[in-house]
Amino acid sequence: MKRSVVIFILSALVIVLSAVWFANAKISFNLAELMPFGILVLVVGIAVFIGIKRIKSIRRGEPAEDELSKKILVKTSSISYYISIYLWLVIGFFSDRLNMENHTLIGIGIAGMALIYLLSWVFFSLRGLRDE
């Protein structure tokens, strides 16, 4: 329960600080400036979804984690790490050919890793772990 509360508190802090930043910053509403904000909203949305799911489990009297959910996390982590290595190799290969700042490429890489992790988690959550 404490973990779920912490997730909600952190998400609320991120949302409030982002709202303050958004209100005070001079955003020109082009894609490059809105993309970090969009990624932030996505990450906070995922955290809130996980927090709500945990609270529902606790209310039903279920454990927050069990052997299957832990195995899914381990499998997801290993597969997403493996795929992310290739993602960074591709980014490194194209970094000289693209006219982008280094911090933008790093941001794209990190966002890509988060997306790979999310998609891997969804894949294993739906498929299951039959032969593990």
Partner: protein, 53 residues
């Protein structure tokens, strides 16, 4: 017995019971033993081990 009740008896999440029923997950020995104990049957009656060799 509902999936929820069974999950609470063996201390796992309901999703784990759903995955077991759909044959999408192989339980640990402990979970298999706990399930067999709840139903008062031997493990072999609940889970069939398919030999690869």
């Amino acid at each position: 017995m509902t999936q929820d009740e069974l999950a609470q008896k063996v201390k796992v999440r309901r999703e784990t019971i759903v995955f077991l029923e759909k044959n999408k997950y192989n339980p640990s020995l402990k979970l298999a033993y706990d399930l067999a104990t709840v139903f008062s049957v031997p493990i072999e009656e609940l889970f069939i081990f398919e030999k690869d060799i």
